[in-house]
Amino acid sequence: MTYLMRRLATFPLVLLGVSILVFVAIRMVPGDAITAMLGTEAGLLTPQQRQSLAAYFGIDQPWLVQYWRWLLGVFQGNLGISVTYGRPVLDVILERFPLTLELALMSMIIALAVGVPAGIFAATRNERPSDLGVRVIAMIGQSTPSFVLGLLIIYTLSAGFGVLPAMGAFVPLWQDPLRNLGQLILPALTLGFAFAASVTRISRSAMLDVLSDDYVRTARSKGASARSVIWRHALPNALIPVVTLSGIEFGYLLGGAVIVEQVFALPGLGRMVLDAILQRDYALVQGCVLFIAFNFMIINLLVDLAYVLLDPRIRLGEQ
């Protein structure tokens, strides 16, 4: 409990640091938000119009005042108004987040469904050709950048089968589940491949470690079947590093997979932040980064707590 409290106590501090860093960084990007928003039409604005637009978005004040106002707003659940969308930042984020969440979940499901069995398979056939085969594929998977794999998938589909991935306007899961899955399956496979490769490698090495432990040897000598030794005795302990890796990776994916979203033209969180940076949409960049950092920290905390559930010997916070 004390550990949890200590971890939670660092949250505001880190988030404050993140907010200051992003606030200052985005304001150091050359150019101003009004020009970025209106493009060449910004030249048609009179100084008064420009001034009132800046006042509307609150960017006419000194930095300290802007930051203080923004911070006060954050505490009230108001992340400001996006210059690009002309709507509250939180609304815009919550509109994009389901896609990012769904993509991250699908990638993780693919990674775990493929990676854990592959890792166990390889560990139980240690140093045999099948183990080597799994290791080679996992190493290639871990070394293939998502954009290379994404482009290869698109190319294979279009050149080999004459089909193109379902792009166009994104359809949420609750509107048309089939079309939604059709749109997300290829990006999820792209992200899931490298993720599965990492899961395979870590499951294999964790399983190998556990299989040589004394308690597993005891279980074997008591006549437990090979299946029972692997699935009942060894797996729960071998899963601990898998949980850590999956949690951290999932946390990263919740921040949006900028490049895969770009390759598959998906309107996710990552691409929105990229566009917001290029558009100098201060409030949107600040809101998104804070939202992503918060999610990342929560996921990391949940991963730590999951240790205790998986291994009661671990007492968090003790050296």
């Binding site: 880190v14 050359p30 293939t144 290029l278 980064v289």
Partner: protein, 279 residues
């Protein structure tokens, strides 16, 4: 020399070492200009020429030789990767050692700053830095360097803290060794093994991040060649000229594979705990 022999007697090390060695050769040839053609020369008559004896990897939309551009691109990617990892490992080592040695308030400050940087998704932090400083090779070096500094700080701080509490450090202090001597001789020398492994693996990430930034148009700027940029440009011509995508894609993948294999081998050799079960 013993290290090189150990790497080459390790299965992954041999393959990884050979790949990295080959890429280094290609990068050097690309940088000194020993390419089959001028990477910027436009052979208008041979635009989108498929791979042939004259153009080993074909030509692009402007009739530029893909193989020559690829060689220059590999050189470019390696410069960014090596410099950014040098930056990150140096900054991370200094910060990690300072945090561990000075302890208390300094440790708290350094590690909280690193927590802030780690809470940022790596590519977004790099994007933000590039947006501030403007795209280009040096910006990529600094952006990737800053993104990976927290990882090195953590890698150094943990073991440095436990080394600091060891008897031989106490003994050195008792004998009147200077702080500088203890930190460089007793702490740093003992950290060489984990740092070597991390540097090799970080080179793979740095190559990946550099290619990602260039792919998004925020790394190396045209007309200079870069693997990510070549891949990004290939998207529109994927069906008519697949070689524009396949060669840079494979080049990025195999270079990352080489560093990953080498990193794994070094980990097996230098870390006795993993020797039993190489992943």
């Amino acid at each position: 020399m013993r290290m090189v022999r150990a790497v080459f007697s390790h299965g992954s090390g041999r393959i990884g070492g050979a790949i990295v060695g080959f890429y280094l050769l290609v990068a050097v040839l690309g940088m000194v200009g020993l390419t089959p053609h001028d990477p910027l020369a436009q052979f208008r008559i041979d635009r989108l020429h498929a791979p042939s004896a004259a153009y080993w990897m074909g030509t692009d939309l402007f009739g530029r030789d893909v193989a020559s551009r690829l060689m220059v691109g590999v050189g470019q990617s390696f410069i960014v990767a090596f410099l950014s990892v040098a930056f990150a490992s140096l900054a991370g080592t200094v910060l990690g050692l300072a945090a561990a040695w000075l302890g208390r308030r300094w440790d708290g400050i350094v590690m909280r700053v690193m927590d802030v940087l780690l809470a940022f998704p790596a590519i977004l932090l790099a994007l933000l830095i590039v947006a501030v400083a403007g795209p280009g090779t040096w910006t990529s070096v600094v952006a990737i360097g800053i993104v990976y500094t927290p990882i090195f700080t953590r890698i150094v701080r943990g073991p440095a803290l436990s080394l600091k509490a060891r008897e031989f450090v106490d003994a050195a202090r008792t004998f009147g060794s200077s702080t500088h001597y203890i930190v460089t001789r007793h702490l740093l020398l003992n950290l060489v093994a984990p740092l070597t492994v991390q540097v090799t693996l970080a080179l793979a990430w740095a190559l990946l991040t550099e290619a990602g930034l260039s792919f998004l148009g925020l790394g190396t700027q045209p007309p200079a060649a870069s693997l990510g940029l070549m891949l990004s440009d290939s998207r529109k011509l994927m069906e008519t000229a697949p070689w524009l995508m396949i060669f840079p894609g494979l080049a990025i993948m195999i270079s990352i594979l080489g560093f990953n294999l080498l990193g794994d081998a070094l980990r097996d050799i230098l870390d006795p705990r993993t020797r039993r079960s190489p992943a």
